[in-house]
Amino acid sequence: MNATPRFTVRLRFTKSGKVRFVSHRDVARIIERSIKKLRLPVSYSEGFSPRPRISFGLALTVAYESEAEFLDIDFVTPIDLEDLPARLTAALPDGLAVSAAKHIEPGTASLQESISCCRWIIEVLGDPTDVTAAVSTTLDAPELMLERVRKGKTTTVDVRPAIVKIDISGPTDSGVRLVTELATLAPSIRPAEFVRVLSPDFAEGKVCRTHQFIQQANGDRFEPIEAPGSPAALQMSATSATPTSAVRELSPARSAS
């Protein structure tokens, strides 16, 4: 099976505009086709229906935008990364753009299993005073029980530990923009659930994923590939240009453990 060598490349890409209404599965197909169009020396799986070896990161809910999507592609020969992002972007529809690429070592943990937390910009539709109050209440709550129905089974989970951080970024036309970090490993919480936890009266406006983080044993964390032009992307606190009233951080107790 391992007769052919593999060279794995990790890509960072963005999803915005009209194309954000395309599903995760469809994005996978679009990227496969663009690789074929460029005739990149991609590695194929064995068997009757060979598929290009591409592994995608965490799924992004339809209609969300993202500045931080990732995927890994196996190639059969080493590939020049210099112009790869630009070539791929040209082969992709408007709204999908590859922003960075790097080689990764064989045996690197997959994106799915290594991402522990995502940072989101979430527009919460509701009265700004109410939203601000709900953020405080949420951060102060010792536990937040959320009911989930999956495959007909109802389970109740304490999602408070999954809410790592909430910043209030500022008002929008019809609500408040929050910058929040939500855990993706159990217990996890999704942006739609987060808005529901804040208050059932609020609705979700525009949502954008801005970062995905891999946590290391020593507590350091980093993105699978840093966004181009922001090597210091880790220093989240410095990026809150307009620190408003309720900038609160959860103690890193859980996330550092």
């Binding site: 009209k18 194309v19 209404f21 599903s23 086709r33 169009k37 209609a63 082969a91 408007d94 709204g95």
Partner: protein, 664 residues
């Protein structure tokens, strides 16, 4: 030009599959919405994933966008969830390129290829904010136009349409655009414009004709304006090579049916299957030159990134020299470094030759193969002129299972003329025998018989036949279900007989059916070809509400002298040819394929001064129909798998007598 996008965007997260509404496909033409251009909105009246692959609309979309004086966008019927939002929030029907309201286009053009989409046509017109009926539209209103196979009997939709294109649209859309350019320059009224459109070959303007009834009988449909010809002839392009479209097939961002490259290799079919409207109305056969096919496939694969191409036509195995063409395609793909290319043929001929080709093409998984014997007994297949012997089918199935396929799907029709229960049950017997053959190769071999109720179509020899009642079709389905229950490895699937009835009402209905369609639509009956949305009562209630009788419109046999609702339209076929062929059918007499035998003057060539365009006058190997070979049981079928046939069968003098095949 305005855009509904700001209204639509915040609501798209609320609907299923929002990618249906965003356009942005590879190959989409977002030509600047310059108001100086004549603008078309090509619309498929069904869900995006069904409509997007429609090659007809894609061809016309490119042709219009290539013109300097015109532009085209596309539209698709919004799914019921979005429609509800659109009606609640006053969002009109829109194009997917610029999200321009439909009423801002000069022409709203529907491609209509299924009767059960008629209510969606009305829904789109209404959502556009246009008056539903042509008679209520005024100067400046968008023209509502339709084309497609169903429009060979446009009468049930006639009151809603301003103009109809019969036949090939490639030239007609250009001519219509020319008329609209001139009409705009001259400041013509709507009435003047419609009269000018009526002078275009292949364009029918329903408002310039009036049907005459005597009681419930239709006496005829005649022009009420000097501008309208007595009979409207279909449009036919003589040479497919001049129309290498689509040049840039649309590659959608989301999954659709037929999600692969499609290259049309020929148009028209002369096999003469009597139930098949497509085969009758698209004559003559016009092959695309093999070199052009290769170029179109190579360019398409390179541009799109698809790894599968379908060579489309009504019977692709009949394409001249099909084998070297397809092996050439696969070599081209390898040479170009595009990786493995899968070539598929949408319709496989029922013989071992067809399977041999399929085996060469389908390099990847061999999961299922589909054949269409259409009827369960030889008697029945003679009546429908699909002259496949049981041995042909068994050889094909044997070849399929022996070469690694595990599932075979067989298409059949029930409710065919003079069908007996023995004929119906013959379907089960054929399927069972096929499953037995399969088990000699593979214990898990399975055969699925897919059974559809027959709907007689205009411009076919069966246009005089009264279709089976829904109850009768259901009885036959039950017969088959019972018969196959204990058969090992045989599954049966069937279409809803009630939907078949509704389809029949519109297939051969006259203008009185328009009120019924409108009532069904007003009662919420959209997406009628989706079983979860179809309700028989909506149709029967609407028929009663308008005093119309299902029996009269769908189930009654027509007589030779009866005026048919499409008599003032022409697909080139002589009515007496069709009648004679109907009589031959009842006498269980077959008719050969005229591609390889002398002309019997159906009218499709002679009437228009055109002829078949075929690269090879030699019939393909193994063809058991119309190739002049002895069809008596036991006659050898000269099949060579993977090699060229040794002796061309046409050397045998063709059995020109229409009695061929009746000697069994």
């Amino acid at each position: 030009m305005t855009s509904v996008w700001p209204l639509l965007e915040p609501r798209l997260a609320l609907v299923q599959k929002p990618a249906r509404y965003i356009g942005s496909e590879d190959g989409a033409k977002a030509k600047s919405p310059d108001p100086a251009l004549i603008s078309w909105l090509f619309t498929y009246p069904d869900a995006y994933e069904i409509g997007l692959p429609n090659q007809g609309l894609q061809i016309l979309y490119e042709i219009i966008n290539e013109r300097e004086d015109a532009r085209a966008d596309r539209g698709y019927a919004p799914w019921v969830d979005l429609e509800e939002i659109m009606r609640a929030d006053d969002i009109p029907f829109f194009s997917v390129e610029h999200h321009t309201p439909a009423a801002e286009f000069d022409v709203l053009a529907f491609g209509v290829s299924a009767e059960l989409t008629y209510t969606n046509v009305l829904n789109c017109i209404d959502l556009a904010g246009l008056p539903l009926r042509s008679v209520d539209r005024v100067d400046g209103d968008t023209l509502v136009v339709a084309g497609g196979h169903c429009m060979f009997n446009p009468e049930p939709l006639a009151p809603f349409l301003d103009a109809v294109v019969l036949g090939d649209g490639e030239e007609a859309v250009g001519d219509i655009t020319d008329v609209l350019v001139a009409a705009r320059a001259a400041g013509s009224s709507r009435a003047e414009t419609l009269e000018a459109l009526a002078s275009i070959e292949g364009v029918y303007v329903p408002s310039l004709y009036s049907p005459v009834y005597d009681g419930r009988a239709l006496m005829g449909t005649a022009p009420v304006s000097d501008a309208a010809p007595r009979s409207v002839e279909k449009r036919t392009i003589a040479d497919l090579a001049e129309w290498p479209y689509p040049k840039e097939q649309l590659v959608p961002l989301t999954e659709v049916v037929h999600d692969r490259l499609n290259v049309e290799v020929f148009r028209g079919c002369t096999r003469g299957c009597r139930f098949c409207q497509a085969g009758m109305i698209t004559r003559p056969v016009r092959e695309r030159p093999a070199d052009q096919v290769r170029t179109m496939v190579a360019n398409g694969i390179e541009r799109t990134g698809y790894d599968e191409v379908s060579l489309t036509s009504l019977s692709t195995a009949d394409f001249s020299d099909i084998e070297p063409v397809v092996t050439g395609l696969m070599d081209d793909s390898e040479d170009a470094g595009c990786g493995p290319l899968s070539v598929s043929l949408p319709s496989l001929r029922v013989d071992a030759f067809g399977v041999g080709i399929a085996a060469q093409l389908q390099r990847a998984k061999r999961s299922g193969l589909t054949f269409a014997p259409e009827a369960g007994t030889w008697r029945m297949r003679q009546i429908i002129n699909k002259l496949i012997r049981e041995e042909d089918l068994y050889e094909a199935v044997d070849a399929a299972f022996s070469q690694g396929w595990q599932r075979v799907k067989l298409y059949f029709l029930i409710g065919l003329p003079s069908e007996t229960d023995e004929d119906t049950l013959g379907i089960a017997e054929l399927a069972n025998r096929c499953a037995e053959i399969g088990r000699t190769y593979n214990r898990r071999a399975s055969v699925t018989a897919s059974v559809g109720g027959f709907v007689p179509k205009p411009f076919t020899p069966f246009q005089w036949f009264g279709q089976n009642t829904a109850d009768e079709l259901q009885r036959k389905v039950n017969l088959l279900r019972d018969a196959t229950r204990k058969m090992k490895g045989v599954q049966i699937k069937w279409h809803d007989p009630a939907a078949t009835m509704a389809e029949g009402l519109m297939s051969r209905g006259d203008r009185r059916m328009a009120d019924v369609i409108e009532t069904v639509w007003r009662n919420g009956g959209t997406f009628q070809e989706w079983s979860e949305h179809f309700e028989l009562d909506r149709w029967t209630d609407a028929m009663s509400a308008h005093g119309l009788d299902v029996e009269w419109f769908a189930y009654r046999h027509r007589t030779e002298d009866e005026a048919l609702p499409w008599d003032h339209l022409s697909a080139g076929l002589h009515k007496d040819f069709l009648w004679d062929d109907w009589q031959d059918a009842l006498a269980e007499v077959g008719l050969p394929d005229c591609r390889w035998t002398p002309c019997y003057d159906c009218g499709a060539c002679t009437g228009y001064g055109i002829e078949h365009v075929v690269a090879s006058a030699t019939p393909p190997a193994g063809g058991s129909q119309g190739t002049g070979q002895d069809l008596a049981t036991g006659g050898a079928v000269p099949v060579s798998l993977g090699k060229r046939p040794v002796a061309p069968i046409a050397e045998t003098p063709a059995a020109t007598s229409p009695a061929m095949g009746s000697t069994t």
